[in-house]
């Protein structure tokens, strides 16, 4: 029997930055320069994300605007990412980087839970994230607010793209972080109740939405409680609804094509004939 393989995903990742895509990127830039075309800008989440600890858990909040340069790419994107049942992570920076980084660490956490048969700790997620981001020396543009509850209590961490971390009772990240932090610094108290905490988070995200150009649309919140329950609310506050704007546009009635406009002349139904392969089972040699 071949040698037993331990969990290869938990083994040390190859050291150093992986330069595989640098050659490809250089080629793309050459082609673009020759044909005078404009390269698409990476979708960023110029963002307001916040996290805070309250009496019985943590509350995370995020706005929902994704920008590519000065254009809004997505008016309702999800910036609060699932890491584990008791751990969620808000991401600012390049949208693809935050999405894929949190996904990767989320799957590593799941494998670790299977191996250790115990729930994930927030500090584990933080360490896995910071090790990966440091390895890429800041080229992965992911600024994260990680929050969750575990056996040792509720925790909130801030993680920067270069791999530094800070553990705080409340924190904000993203382009709207200054606006949101001003709200927190004025009104955060130790041991707030859940409703007070959620109100404060909503207030700070709204400060980012209205005072920062990179943040906008609506506010998502996520409450993670010490008793193990979690509540993710998409659009907890939606001060910028799109429906009234759309309704105000007068479109030609030619564009409203009702069902039944195209007449059906005839209908035929032919069942597809699929022949299954011949399957025989033989016992493996011992």
């Amino acid at each position: 029997m071949s040698e037993f393989h331990g969990n290869s995903s938990l083994d040390e990742a190859p050291p150093g930055f992986s330069f595989d895509n640098c050659h490809r990127n250089a080629m793309i830039e050459q082609v673009a320069a020759k044909s005078n075309s404009v390269l698409p800008t990476a979708t960023k989440t110029g963002t307001t994300i916040v996290g805070m600890v309250y009496k019985d858990g943590v509350v995370l909040g995020a706005d929902t605007r994704a920008t590519g340069g000065t254009e809004v790419c997505d008016k309702n994107c999800e910036k609060i990412h699932y890491m584990a049942d008791n751990i969620y992570c808000c991401g600012a920076g390049t949208a693809a980087d935050t999405e894929k980084t949190t996904e990767m660490i989320s799957s590593q956490l799941e494998l670790l839970r299977m191996n250790t048969k115990s729930p994930s700790r927030v500090v584990t997620a933080c360490t896995l994230l910071k090790r990966m981001l440091f390895r890429y020396q800041g080229h992965i543009s992911a600024a994260l607010v990680l929050g969750g509850c575990d056996v040792s209590g509720p925790h909130v961490y801030q993680i920067y793209p270069h791999g530094s971390t800070g553990k705080l009772p409340y924190t904000t990240m993203g382009s709207g972080s200054l606006a949101a932090m001003s709200v927190f610094e004025t009104e955060w108290r130790d041991d707030m109740s859940e409703s007070e905490a959620v109100e404060l988070v909503k207030k700070s995200i709204l400060a980012g939405i209205f005072n920062d150009l990179g943040s906008g649309s609506s506010c998502d919140t996520c409450v993670i409680r010490m008793d193990g329950t979690t509540e993710v609310t998409r659009g907890a506050v939606a001060p910028n609804p799109v429906a009234p704007l759309r309704a105000a546009i007068n479109r030609s009635s030619k564009l409203n094509i009702g069902k039944g406009t195209t007449p059906v002349l005839s209908t035929t139904f032919t069942p597809a004939r699929v022949t299954l392969a011949d399957v025989t089972v033989t016992e493996m040699e011992q």
Binding site: H162, S164, T165, G166, L168
Partner: protein, 200 residues
């Protein structure tokens, strides 16, 4: 900064730092803890890039833990400082890390080692580092005395860090201290309102 006090095996060190981490002109963390334990009685004061120093301190903590198992006793502060030196020197073109390694071990008592940006490793009676250190070299040279008592040393560290915080924009927040001697580590906290010296 880190300062030695006392004599022989009764000696110890006081390590102290401010708590401001800044990204450009914004204070990212106003209550950060720059005093990081790498072993039971060995601490390091981190300055420079937070990402780099946190990563280096994690590596040293890992290697020192393994070393302590094979040695079957408390590792020397000199060893921890040498591990810092190896990492900082060999990666000097990729990193911005300036570390002060200080602690107590049964062989040498309390000792302080400075590992600045280039990766030198120098033992000193006291060491200061970081952007605010430039403002307190004179104060240190004038007021440090060999063989201070623990209480005198604590006041000395509090005072000098306050002076640095008063003049340097990148230093501020609160003062965190740790007293390390043969009985272990005792941590102190001085809030922003209780600083011994504030700008007038």
């Amino acid at each position: 900064m880190a300062v030695t006090y006392g004599e022989g095996v009764d000696s110890g060190v006081i390590v102290g730092a401010d708590s401001r981490t800044s990204t450009g002109s914004y204070v990212a963390n106003r209550v950060s803890d720059k005093l990081t334990p790498v072993h039971d009685s060995i601490y390091c004061c981190r300055s420079g890039s937070t990402a780099d120093t946190q990563a280096v301190a994690d590596y040293v903590r890992h290697f020192l833990a393994q070393h302590a198992i094979t040695l079957d006793s408390k590792p020397q502060v000199k060893t921890a400082a040498y591990l810092f030196q190896k990492l900082v020197y060999n990666n000097k073109d990729r990193m911005s890390a300036s570390i002060i390694c200080a602690g107590w071990d049964p062989v040498n008592g309390g000792s302080v080692y400075c590992v600045p940006l280039g990766g030198a490793c120098v033992q000193q009676d006291f060491a200061i580092g970081g952007s605010g250190s430039t403002y307190i070299y004179g104060l240190m040279d004038a007021s440090y005395r060999v063989g201070m008592s623990k209480a005198e040393c604590i006041d000395f560290v509090k005072k000098t860090i306050s002076h640095a915080m008063a003049r340097d924009g990148s230093s501020g927040g609160v003062i965190r201290l740790a007293a390390i001697d043969k009985t272990g580590v005792e941590r102190f906290f001085v809030g922003g309102n209780d600083l011994p010296f504030t700008p007038q």
